[in-house]
């Protein structure tokens, strides 16, 4: 655990030393702020619902930008050699880096907290949908980050890592459409994999166990694949 914390601390320092985290957060705030304002003015309703779905889509694009450096850079610079010959386990490396990216995600969501504060100031919003919305956004963002971390482990090229990371989650984002032409068991599998369907209920104030399990297993699979990928790098 001490190694995980050390690894996460190192990555956080790097995040704050580079402009990436600030720029990602700024873009996220700009676009979610735009949707929030537009939604509230249009509907005259005290809810954060309007920024959640666009927000999750912005996270789809931005999350791999946060993770693309994490392992690709280590491979390109050769620092992975020193890291993997230190007394740290592969999973500790992955966990530490994932944790660092989660902290950035949490901070980014934390910065949007003034939307609900404004709502409480001027109106009387429901607490439930706000809490579930934020939980959903965090889960969906964390899943994106785990996918991005995985693709970052595959290559020494950050752009490739971003494209693959965004590509994988984008595919899961649109895959639900295939259920119109694919039926049977395969159709059901696709239906389960479809990512927006697992996010939607969070925006409506409902926390389903199946949805939470979906995102957690998404992360577990990505985490496992990342560790495997690091291992094969060692054995190549």
């Amino acid at each position: 655990m001490r190694n995980v914390v050390a690894m996460a601390g190192k990555e956080l320092r790097t995040y704050f030393a580079s402009p990436v985290a600030y720029i990602v957060a700024a873009v996220f705030l700009l676009i979610t702020g735009y949707f929030f304002t537009l939604g509230v003015i249009n509907d005259q309703e005290a809810t954060v619902r309007h920024f959640l779905t666009p927000g999750s889509f912005v996270l789809l694009l931005l999350s791999p930008a946060l993770t693309m450096r994490l392992l690709a850079e280590e491979q390109k610079m050769g620092t992975l050699e020193l890291l993997l010959t230190s007394p740290i386990r592969d999973w500790e490396v992955v966990a530490g880096k994932f944790m660092a990216s989660l902290v950035i995600l949490a901070a980014m969501l934390g910065l949007t907290i003034y939307y609900p504060i404004l709502l409480y100031w001027f109106g009387n919003p429901d607490f439930g949908p706000i809490a579930s919305g934020y939980l959903g956004l965090f889960l969906v963002g964390a899943a994106f980050l785990s996918a991005g971390l995985f693709t970052s482990s595959l290559t020494g090229n950050q752009v490739v890592a971003w494209v693959l990371g965004a590509g994988i989650v984008l595919l899961l984002w649109v895959i639900g459409g295939a259920t119109q032409v694919v039926g049977g068991l395969f159709g059901e599998v696709i239906d389960y994999l479809s990512l927006p369907d697992h996010f939607r209920d969070f925006t409506l104030g409902v926390i389903n166990t199946t949805d939470v399990v979906y995102f957690l297993s998404f992360m577990a699979v990505a985490f496992f694949l990342t560790i495997r990928s690091l291992e094969t790098r060692r054995w190549r």
Partner: protein
């Protein structure tokens, strides 16, 4: 402290190293000497647990580098050839991070970081970003990182490559001072450097160990001899004893090859005995099927190593 047994590493059909067997005693400084791409880095990467061997075993401080990788890694300090560093960290942060990974407790870490920064002349650069440092200083950071946790075994891949001559001298002295307490394995393609720092030298070429000895013995052996190979049809023992009588021949060995015999003659250096040896064979009426000076012998490698770079 380090024992390897028949280490091999293949990449497909390519043989990176083969049958690398050696051992290093505690406190000894061992040098790997060989031309580029001889297999030095591959061997070191296996010792540090970065690469698994295709076959064979390696133990560091009594721990198998594969089966007890973590335990072995805890006892190793490593500086890879290219000295990879996190360029966006300061020297202090970098050492602090590796100190944490090495499991040094907070109080001792402070002290150790201070000590190694002193040893490697980095005190003035504690808060400098590594990316802003010159190659020589990066090398020092790499070295500081490797010795931070006072490892039993220090593995340094080409520790003096690419730094200016004054720093080379300093670095060599520093490495030499680690001997006795730490076990050091370093690689180099510069012969004088290795004979200066190391107590024992492993000469490695094309993935195989060519010789292991003390530097002075190696030079002795080298000054001594030249190698000639002859393929002869005839009674082996007789041929050998006749060859031995030729003036300048030091040693004759033979083995059976394709129904004939292959003799390897070690001769005193400086005289070309090929003509004379051929004469002897023909004179006796034996069949001389082939004769050649042996290709890449120790001497050739040494020659290559010594002429490539001056100190």
């Amino acid at each position: 402290m380090i024992e390897t047994d028949k280490l091999c590493k293949y990449y497909g059909d390519f043989v990176a190293i083969e049958d690398i067997t050696f051992s290093v005693k505690k406190g000894e400084i061992l040098g790997f000497l060989g031309p580029n791409a001889a297999g030095k880095t591959t061997t070191m990467r296996i010792l540090t647990g970065y690469l698994p061997p295709s076959s064979g075993t390696a133990r560091v401080a009594g721990y198998d580098v594969i089966d007890h990788s973590l335990e072995a890694r805890r006892r190793i300090g490593y500086m890879p050839e290219t000295v990879p560093l996190y360029t966006d960290m300061t020297v202090y942060d970098y050492l602090n991070f590796y100190g944490a990974l090495r499991g040094i407790d907070r109080k001792r870490k402070e002290k150790r970081i201070n000590t190694v920064m002193g040893l490697c002349h980095l005190r003035d650069y504690a808060d400098t970003l590594i990316g802003k440092l010159s190659k020589g200083f990066r090398q020092r950071v790499g070295l500081a990182q490797a010795i931070l946790h006072e490892p039993d075994v220090l593995i340094l891949d080409e520790p003096t490559i690419g730094i200016d001559p004054r720093q080379v001298v300093e670095t060599r002295q520093l490495i030499k001072s680690f001997g006795g307490e730490h076990t050091v394995v370093l690689s180099s393609h510069i012969l004088p450097e290795v004979s200066m720092i190391c107590e024992r030298v492993v000469i490695i070429n094309e993935g195989r160990i060519v010789a292991i000895d003390r530097p002075e013995n190696l030079s002795e052996r080298l000054r001594g001899s030249e190698r000639i190979q002859l393929d002869v049809r005839g009674p082996a023992a007789e041929v050998a004893s006749r060859l031995r009588q030729v003036k300048g021949v030091l040693e004759v060995s033979w083995e059976k090859a394709d129904g004939n015999f292959r003799f390897v003659v070690d001769a005193r250096l400086g005289r070309d005995l090929r003509e004379e040896l051929a004469g002897v064979i023909v004179h006796q009426g034996w069949g001389l099927l082939g004769l050649q000076g042996l290709g890449m012998t120790l001497e050739d490698i040494f020659l290559q190593l010594t002429t490539k770079e001056e100190v």
